[in-house]
């Protein structure tokens, strides 16, 4: 559904050129929910805007929904829907009018557009507010309308830019349901997010992007498995660098990183590693503030690839 080779975007500013997307290779399959995970400013939105015809790439190649993005953007536009982060409806226009307008822009006749609008209003539970101006909508209603606008013409592929940013937990869960329903009817979804839980719970496959480059790609489980074993988190008062230095050399530690005053140790078996860690620190007389054993999360994947925690990087 999406195939890119060495896709790049360079923005020129007064300070010089900034490479927002530095060579992205993607292969998104039909019918999957593909997540683009990364901190703010990593190049997620820029990539999405290139793939949805809003921004011409500086170089590289891309095929989107069967058409060459660079030479046939007009054809691509008929096949894709796009839901931006900023919203898409005019404050003084009722939601139903926005939906019908959108359908008409894709060539639907009036009757067809009205009928499709009713389908979406029902499916997205917007009946209560469909005929009110969108400025009166709640955050969740507004986001559902945005999705409805993106789906009006039954696109094969839907782009969602940060679909749940700014939503309360309930509306977020609701949005996840809507996205899963899309997969059930065969729509391919390409979304960006900086929420680890969202990528983990919602996406079939994930690409982790940082500084304009993809640093990891796979299913959430595959990515977590790459980290392998357990994560032991050691907390000390002001001694994290020393602890890192001491433990990094231990044979049972595969990798170690430090951040936020916490040392994260990647080990094969957490149960046996913990007593050994205690012994080493005891021998050096370093007082321990906390010690915990965790399963690897996507944050560990990110941390391992970039040396930073996604929570901090944002």
């Amino acid at each position: 559904m999406i195939e890119t080779h060495n896709l790049r975007k360079t923005f020129k500013s007064r300070k010089g050129a900034v490479e927002a997307v530095a060579g992205v290779d993607l292969d998104v399959k039909k019918g999957e929910i593909f997540g683009f995970l990364g901190p703010n400013g990593a190049g997620k939105t820029t990539t999405l805007r290139m793939l949805s015809t809003l921004l011409p790439p500086t170089s590289g190649e891309a095929t989107v929904a069967g058409y060459d993005l660079l030479h046939n953007a007009a054809k691509v536009r008929y096949e894709i829907g796009y839901v931006s982060q900023e919203g898409s409806s005019a404050p003084e226009v009722p939601g139903r009018s926005e939906l019908i307008m959108q359908g008409r822009l894709y060539g639907m006749n009036k009757a067809r557009a009205q009928q499709r609008a009713i389908e979406l209003i029902t499916a997205l539970e917007l009946a209560d507010c469909a005929d009110r101006a969108t400025k009166t909508y709640s955050g969740g209603q507004k986001r559902r309308l945005d999705i409805g606008i993106g789906l009006m013409h039954l696109p094969q592929l839907l782009f969602l830019d940060e679909p749940t940013t700014g939503l309360d937990p309930q509306s977020r869960a609701r949005m996840w349901e809507e996205v899963r329903k899309l997969r059930d009817i065969g729509t391919t979804v390409f979304l960006t997010t900086h929420y680890l839980e969202e990528a983990d719970a919602l996406c079939d496959r994930i690409a982790i992007i940082d500084h304009g480059k993809i640093v990891a790609l796979g299913t959430p489980d595959e990515l977590k498995r790459e980290v392998a074993g357990d994560v032991v988190v050691v907390g000390t008062d002001d001694a994290s660098d020393r602890v890192l230095h001491l433990l990094r050399g231990q044979p049972f530690v595969r990798e170690a990183t430090v951040g936020d005053g916490l040392v994260r140790l990647y080990v094969d078996r957490g149960e046996t590693a913990m007593p050994q860690i205690l012994r080493v620190l005891d021998a050096e007389g370093i007082p321990l503030a906390s010690l915990s054993l965790n399963r690897p999360s996507l944050d560990d994947v990110f941390l391992r690839q970039t040396g930073r925690s996604l929570r901090d990087a944002a």
């Binding site: 809003l54 003084e92 101006a133």
Partner: protein, 253 residues
Amino acid sequence: MKMLRDTWLMFQRYLMVFLRNPAWVVIGVLQPVLYLVLFAPLLKSLTETPGFPSGGAYNVFVPGLLIQLGLFGASGVGFGLIAELRAGVIERFRVTPVSRFALLLGRALRDILTLVVQSLILLLLAIPFGLHPTVSGVFVMLGLVALIGLGMSSLAYAAALALKSEDSYAPLIFTLSLPLLLLSGVLLPLQLAPEWLQHIAQANPLSYAVTAARDVFNGHGADPDVFKGLAIMAALAVVGVLVGARRFSRAIA
């Protein structure tokens, strides 16, 4: 064909948006009405001044007032576009296959319709004061206003798309529209101006529109100046549409 259909869709949309808040029609007319009531009477005592065009104060002043309505009305349209940019509406349209030309033209046609309606209201209001309109005069006048509306609103949209913020758009249009107004001869005929001022005014396309409008309201409808004014406004409209359409079709980063 698709371009015409898309333009019609856009026109309907923006007309609906406008009609949801019809107060703007009144607000747009209010300023020229104030000129009509509070300024035009001053001209009555000037009609005897050498150089003042014949035809009476209102037949001289009202045509200019309509040109001013066109200028001010069209130069403010960018505010609505900036609000839409911020709401993400423009980006949403740009992802659809809609004709880029229609994005501009649909809006501009709505602006023209608004200006024509406002002009008619103003003409009707001016009759009790002493305006004597002619049918051909009204048609030429509305043609001029429509062309100014098309040209100026297209340029205003191009500026709004380039600047993307009210904070830079507002100073730009206020800075530009005042000299355009002063150098057009709307308030007082340029025949009263010293020669150097008349020379500068010749560089202002709107001054030709004002001359043409005045001629056609004062029995000189066949004067070459009328055709000159219409031709210059048509050229302004073409340039404006080309500049505006180019802006709409370019990517907005």
